[in-house]
């Protein structure tokens, strides 16, 4: 490893009140103030470890803040901000192996690689995730069944940990799948090598299929064997109604479509409204009647063009539509966006998903957005996907409905456990330690703690989520 260590670890720095910043979870449901330090060198990371050890002040790793809850928050901690550690270092034109520093966002990576015909093998619903975030959460995309999780496309990663210093880890290393999907609890991932996917076209063929019932939806998922991407939007107010969407990459040689200018959509929407102002307009609809109306309209629009041979979309516009509506989550202000995402085994999902919506409708807290995806199990130690389906429910939390929403989330969690569910920490802000034990299994948690005791024996790295769930405490 070409990393120099030029740090005097004997002198700890006293945190400066002027470095305190307020960080929010993406959905504005969690907030914490911490002492920010921007990482621009490996020495910065090692210095932070030394300061944390000397001062007793914990470290929390903070990327671009795309997790919904408190996974990258810890009040009064040293917050290692990796957004400036973001260079894309190289791309091998023969093998497609791209090396980037961990603060590089998926957007930085595709902008670097796509003009040469390379695309990320797995992407989240936002391109603003950092590479470290993608690895720590072991993110999945709409092609989870076809391509697995992000970590399954990594050749190696480099990590700096308080207990073991700097090391390069490959997938055959026994701790690889503890670090990938380890929520940044074992150390600071410095850089990684990603095996990119070769493309000749920057477009995908997208086809919508409206559904009237959940059975129709599951039949569409099960019988679709030749799509590259599969996802469904469901109406949270009318159970079973939704739109199943699949997409296929184009094999034709279309070099012009690989250009960034083709990929990035206009910054204006209908009536020439700037998209970065759209959240102000959306706010008028961020209520039950408004969302019920918009959901109905979306479904009706899809009915008008059922399976019509599809439409061509740029990859970026298809994968990250919300990123082009900047700060869309602010439409939920002054309340918050709380997402409940859970993976349910294949055989249980047809019963569980309608039950979730029934519970929400009974509580008059219908989710404003429902997304269903199909999955295969992920190889992380703290695994969150199973052979089956996941459902993500977006709820609007207000000061008034907060207690009722908490009750509903508890009800949904208990229902999920009854169906053998697994929970996704990137979205969580309310689970309890026993939920984590049920989701990950006690054995996996004990193994994780064992790894933690080797990589971070003094528990320097933490987060509100891990403290809440009592996962990372050393035995």
């Amino acid at each position: 490893m070409d990393i120099s260590l030029d740090t005097d670890l004997s002198k700890a720095e006293i945190p400066d009140p002027a470095s305190v910043q307020t960080d929010w979870g993406f959905g504005y449901s969690c907030v914490a103030e911490s002492y920010h330090r921007s990482v621009t060198s490996v020495d910065d990371v090692l210095r932070a470890f030394a300061d944390a050890k000397a001062s007793g002040r914990p470290i929390v790793l903070r990327g671009n803040g795309r997790s919904y809850g408190d996974v990258s928050l810890q009040p009064e901690a040293i917050s290692l901000d990796l957004t400036r550690w973001n260079a894309v270092e190289s791309l091998d034109p023969e093998t497609g192996v791209l090396v980037a520093r961990s603060g590089a966002r998926l957007e930085d990576i595709w902008r670097f690689a796509l003009p040469d015909g390379w695309w990320l093998p797995v992407v989240s619903g936002t391109m603003l995730t950092t590479l470290a975030g993608a690895l720590s959460a072991n993110i999945h995309g709409k092609n989870n069944v076809q391509s697995g999780t992000f970590g399954e496309h990594i050749d190696w990663l480099e990590i700096a940990s308080p207990g073991r210093g700097l090391e390069r880890i490959t997938p055959d290393h026994p701790d690889f799948w503890t670090i990938v999907g380890g929520w940044g609890q074992l150390g600071f991932i410095l850089r990684a090598a990603i095996r990119m996917k070769k493309l000749t076209s920057g477009s995908v063929l997208v086809t919508d299929y409206p559904t009237e019932t959940w059975d129709q939806l599951f039949a569409l998922f099960e019988n679709d064997h030749d799509s590259d991407y599969q996802v469904a939007w469901m109406d949270g107010f009318r159970s079973g109604k939704g739109i199943y969407t699949n997409a296929k990459t184009i094999s034709a040689d279309e070099p012009a479509s690989l250009r960034t200018s083709y990929q990035v959509p206009s910054d204006r929407m209908a009536l020439r409204i700037r998209k970065d102002q759209a959240h102000k307009f959306l706010r008028w609809f961020t209520n039950r009647p408004g969302m019920k109306f918009l959901s109905g309209l979306k479904w009706l629009a899809a009915v008008k063009r059922p399976g019509d041979g599809g439409r061509m979309l740029p990859l970026v516009a298809y994968h990250f539509p919300l990123d082009f509506v900047p700060e869309w989550q602010r439409a939920y202000r002054p309340g918050a966006l709380v997402q409940f995402q859970v993976g349910i085994p294949r055989e249980a999902a047809p019963a569980a998903f309608p039950a979730f919506l029934r519970a929400a409708q009974r509580a008059k807290l219908e989710p404003y957005l429902v997304v269903v995806k199909v999955h295969r199990p992920d190889p992380s130690l703290l695994s969150y996907l199973c052979d089956g389906y996941s459902i993500a429910l977006d709820f609007h939390q207000t000061r008034r409905n907060q207690p009722r929403l908490r009750e509903l989330l508890r009800e949904l969690t208990d229902l999920s456990h009854a169906h053998g569910a697994k929970f996704y920490m990137a979205k969580d802000s309310f689970l309890l330690p026993e939920d984590a034990r049920k989701s990950f299994g006690s054995e996996a948690i004990n193994q994780f703690r064992w790894a933690k005791s080797r990589f971070d024996p003094d528990n320097l790295i933490t987060s509100s989520l891990f403290r809440r769930l009592e996962i990372a405490d050393n035995p």
Binding site: P17, V20, E76
Partner: protein, 244 residues
């Protein structure tokens, strides 16, 4: 004050009077409070009244070199910070013909220098985090130079000017700075003056918290606002003949 309006607060000068009441009411509203004062025994009483809500921090506001460290201890113990109330103040008995520098210096140090030390470090943090509320407990005595308490008046007038400057500096950063100017309140501070009709400390604390987010100068009563607006207009050559 709305229930749960503040989650984490520091009250400096918390061992008795208005400060202790502020701590109690914040704790009752669900807020975690770092109660800072010299008298640890009194802080322990508060901590016992509200276990897990009130964190006693024994510190002397006159130890300026320690302020940043004590402030860090408070924020670490709290796990965040929304509100800082500077309530420390002394008003020793001063005879009409007494010019005692050590008494005067102590008043300036506690009432003004201590506030500057605490609120500078608070302002630095709030400026960076771009949110927070600072409440400065001033006094109606700072509105005019009265013959009875020249340096107490001066210290509070200085405090008001400092708080106003802080308010103007921080207003664009989403930080609110509120100056409260209480009149007579039934506390240890004024017990020796034998005020009649002094407002109970509990009531004063309620009003202070209710007005804490206003980001301006506030009196505890509307009548005080009217009376002191009038008093400020009285020419100095008349004011010197008024026995207050």
């Amino acid at each position: 004050m709305r229930q749960g309006a503040y989650k984490f607060a520091i009250v400096v000068g918390a061992s008795s009077g208005i400060g202790a009441e502020l701590v109690r009411q914040l704790a009752e509203s669900g807020c975690r409070v770092a109660a800072v004062a010299r008298r640890g025994d009194r802080l322990q009483v508060l901590a016992k009244e509200y276990p897990n809500r009130v964190i006693p921090i024994v510190a002397d506001v006159l130890k300026f070199d320690d302020t940043a460290e004590v402030f860090l201890r408070c924020t670490d113990a709290l796990g965040g910070l929304d509100l800082v109330i500077y309530n420390s103040g002394i008003m020793p008995d001063v005879a009409p013909t007494e010019f005692n520098f050590s008494k005067d210096h102590a008043m300036i140090e506690t009432n003004l220098s201590g506030a500057i030390a605490w609120l500078n470090v608070t302002a630095e943090r709030f400026l960076s985090s771009r949110r927070g509320t600072i409440v400065v407990i001033g006094s109606v005595a700072g509105d005019r130079g009265r013959r009875g308490q020249p340096v107490y008046n001066a210290s509070k007038a200085g405090l008001h000017a400092y708080a106003e400057a802080l308010r103007n500096r921080l207003s664009r950063s989403g930080v609110r700075v509120t100056t409260i100017k209480p009149g007579p309140v039934a506390t240890d501070l004024v017990a020796h003056l034998g005020f009649r009709g002094a407002m109970p400390a509990r009531q004063a604390a309620e009003i202070i918290l209710a007005k804490s987010g206003r980001g301006s100068e506030q009196y505890l009563k509307i009548s005080h606002r009217v009376i002191f607006a009038t008093i400020r207009l009285i020419p100095s050559w008349i004011f010197r003949w008024i026995p207050i």
